[in-house]
Amino acid sequence: MKAENSTRIQFDSLSSNEAYARGVTAAFLARYDPTVPQLADLKTAVSEAVTNCIVHAYPERIGPVCMTIAVYPDREVHITITDKGIGIPNVEQAMQPLFTTGNPEERSGLGFAVMQSFMDRVKVTSKPGKGTKVLLVKRLSRREPT
């Protein structure tokens, strides 16, 4: 199936770009008129995935983060967030709620749990030493014409 519309951006893994990624998500999806809670869910999931790149994928350096947003027929939104960082040796373990390799005093370990709970589907593929790709899928509900 071909996307109706898509965009692609790349930015550095700086924490100030977390807000940028959320802003791009909101701006690109504005014309599809998502409900406030649906847009909040998408922005939250994007924020989690981008934060993971900044905190975990590139712990020692600044690297590139690529984000694509595609809207398919039937208002299905696909967002991919890809890095070329250190990768995740055990994806299944990393996706367990409360699991974190970050500072347990300050990191909740809920990033993937938030993504899974707020999205219809989340797919994570990772190769240690090569990087990680996170796919977030959510269908926007149809707005009744007013």
């Binding site: 924490s15 909040a40 809920l110």
Partner: protein, 107 residues
């Protein structure tokens, strides 16, 4: 970007958070909240989330971290006025908001 404004009433310290709480903003909020906790050691710290437009799990980490810090100092920490999006994230982490506690008590 997020900000915190403090206001004290007796032995209660109110911290009014505003803006967007993500990993970027959490670092500065953490320092300001810990400074206030340690220097004022209030009996109760109420974190007011009414002005927060966005929060992800970094905000959860911020709150859980302050909860630990407060416990060590003998301070009770409470949250209030969390908007709907924040309540969803907080619920996932099992963190109660004051409104929820009051609602449950009233039932």
């Amino acid at each position: 970007m997020a900000t915190v404004t403090f206001s004290a009433a007796g032995e209660t310290l109110y911290a009014y958070l505003a803006g967007e709480i993500d990993h970027d903003a959490a670092q500065s909020l953490r320092m300001q909240l810990d400074d206030a906790l340690v220097s004022r050691s209030p009996r109760t710290l109420i974190i007011d989330l009414g002005g927060v437009g966005f929060m992800d799990s970094s905000g959860v980490g911020l709150i859980l971290g302050r909860q630990r810090c407060a416990r060590v100092l003998g301070t009770t920490l409470r949250l209030q006025h969390a908007p709907a999006q924040l309540q969803k994230v907080l619920r996932l982490a099992g963190i109660p908001c004051m409104e929820n506690i009051e609602k449950e008590n009233a039932q």
